[in-house]
């Protein structure tokens, strides 16, 4: 029996797994979401920026990571608009630009923010880390003097004093990253040499590797995955999609832990017999 259990058809495992995920979506358990120290640190540091601070929000992820990064982006841009920061939405990834634009347009409309005055969509530009270097020397030239809607940058009042992606023209960078190019490149080219804070929203897979950067102060704050997005939604008081999915996350984690335990019990029992 134990050998059979060890070689259980994987489709049975998939079925249990999907059922565990679906139950809380239909019947939420309402588990309280405690605030983790990483999200709290991000919130506190981001909130400390002065009103009118110029913040670059870079959506460096693809639809494959959008389930984690979209809620993070939405929560942070709402926070930025609430605090009256000037937001520049940019992307080093082709798909990130489209995803970020939709969210920014939706949120700016609901919070009465005007494009060109309170926020600006800079679009996607190729080049990765070299593009960041180019932007840090000549932002307008790197963007070809147009924004993400193909409108001249000189038509946007907020861009009048922002000529470089470097202080004193900008005050902070928030990078939502699922790979490279991403936060590591902003860190190397802009934030480490200049000292301005770099915040990041990370996919859960990359969170452990970013912990040493928080410890050294190179990252001012990090939102870790979908759980972090749910915590940030609670912190800012703006309800979002992530919080509603944490019940399903909880049950799925219990199921996977159960599978690990069951697999090892079967393994040990089979070895004994």
């Amino acid at each position: 029996m134990w050998e059979k259990l060890q070689t259980l058809d994987r489709r049975v495992i998939y079925l249990f797994f999907v059922i565990a995920l679906m139950i809380p979506l239909f019947k939420p358990m309402g588990l309280p979401i405690p605030i983790g120290e990483e999200s709290q640190r991000f919130y506190d540091a981001f909130d400390k920026l002065a009103p009118g601070s110029v913040v670059l929000m870079s959506a460096d992820y693809s639809p494959g990571s959008s389930a984690e990064c979209n809620p993070q982006f939405e929560a942070v841009i709402k926070h930025a608009f609430r605090n009256n920061y000037k937001v520049m939405v940019f992307a080093l990834w082709e798909q990130g630009a489209m995803l970020a634009r939709d969210i920014a347009e939706q949120v700016s409309k609901s919070m009465n923010k005007t494009h060109g005055v309170d926020w600006i969509f800079l679009g996607y530009r190729p080049g990765g880390n070299i593009k960041i270097r180019e932007m840090s020397n000549d932002l307008w030239g790197a963007l070809l003097n147009i924004d993400g809607y193909d409108r001249p940058l000189n038509e946007s009042p907020m861009m009048a004093n922002i000529k470089k992606l470097y202080p004193p023209d900008i005050d902070a960078i928030v990078c939502f990253s699922s790979g490279s190019p991403g936060d590591g490149d902003y860190m190397a080219v802009v934030t480490d040499p200049s000292g301005i804070p770099l915040f990041t929203g990370q996919v859960a897979v990359q969170v452990p590797a970013r912990v040493p950067l928080i410890r050294s102060g190179q990252l001012a704050g990090m939102i870790p995955g979908m759980g972090g997005a749910a915590e940030y939604e609670n912190l800012t008081g703006f309800p979002g999609k992530a919080a509603g999915l944490m019940d399903a996350q909880s049950l799925a984690h219990i199921v996977i832990l159960g599978f690990i335990v069951l697999g090892n019990i079967a393994f040990l029992a089979a070895r004994k017999t």
Binding site: M22, M187, V189, P208, Q218, G225, G227
Partner: protein, 210 residues
């Protein structure tokens, strides 16, 4: 999203998920469609966001020197011609060289900050913080020493102990990585399930007039 979009997305999602039951022609067809669409999108984004504006706003207005990098980029397509395929190495070697220059110029600073952060003072605000700082230092140094092979572990016992400690440190880091990976992957699946169960199901019920 419109109803038609929701249905296209939902049917495609279910077709891709059908792979979990068994490899099948529907999954293959949708997978190939996705590859084609995705590849086209990358090219369109580069053309619309960079190439078209450069030609329209800079080259057409007199910056003719920018034609040179275009020609350099086009050289990469000579790789498909047997006689002059070596010419494709020229733009590749230049871009690789530029990337290598980036690593040599910009990567040292973040790296050095990581190294210097290891040698911070141990005393923290609380006893727990102090212990954690000491522990962090010992664990990180032993993990670095785990990759250090110049001093033989067979000859020097302390190297063996530190190497073992380093190995366990890295194993624990990988364990933490696995724990976070589980959450990350489940998040992606939840996104799709939420779409199917909320957006698609409600649209279906709406069509059926419930």
């Amino acid at each position: 999203m419109s109803s038609t979009q929701i249905w296209i997305a939902a049917l495609g999602t279910l077709a891709l998920f059908s792979f979990l039951y068994k490899e099948n022609p529907v999954y293959r067809a949708v997978e190939h469609a996705f590859i084609g669409l995705s590849a086209a999108h990358v090219v369109i984004m580069n053309i619309d966001n960079y190439i078209r504006p450069i030609w329209r706003d800079e080259i057409a207005k007199g910056s003719y020197s920018l034609v040179i990098p275009f020609l350099l980029g086009l050289l990469v397509y000579t790789r498909y011609s047997k006689g002059i395929s070596w010419v494709a190495r020229i733009p590749i070697s230049m871009t690789v060289g530029y990337g290598v220059g980036y690593v040599l110029s910009y990567e040292p600073l973040p790296f050095l900050r990581q190294v210097t952060d290891n040698f911070i003072k141990f005393s923290g605000k609380t006893t727990g913080a102090t212990i954690n700082n000491i522990l962090f230092f010992v664990l990180s140094m032993s993990a670095v020493l785990y990759f250090f092979f110049t001093i033989s572990r067979d000859k020097y016992l302390p190297m063996q102990w530190l190497g073992t400690l380093g190995r366990f440190t890295i194993v624990m880091a990988l364990g933490a990585s696995y724990g976070n990976t589980v959450q990350g992957r489940i998040s992606l699946l939840l996104g799709r399930l939420q779409f199917l169960l909320k957006d698609w199901l409600s649209d279906t019920l709406h069509i059926l007039k419930f």
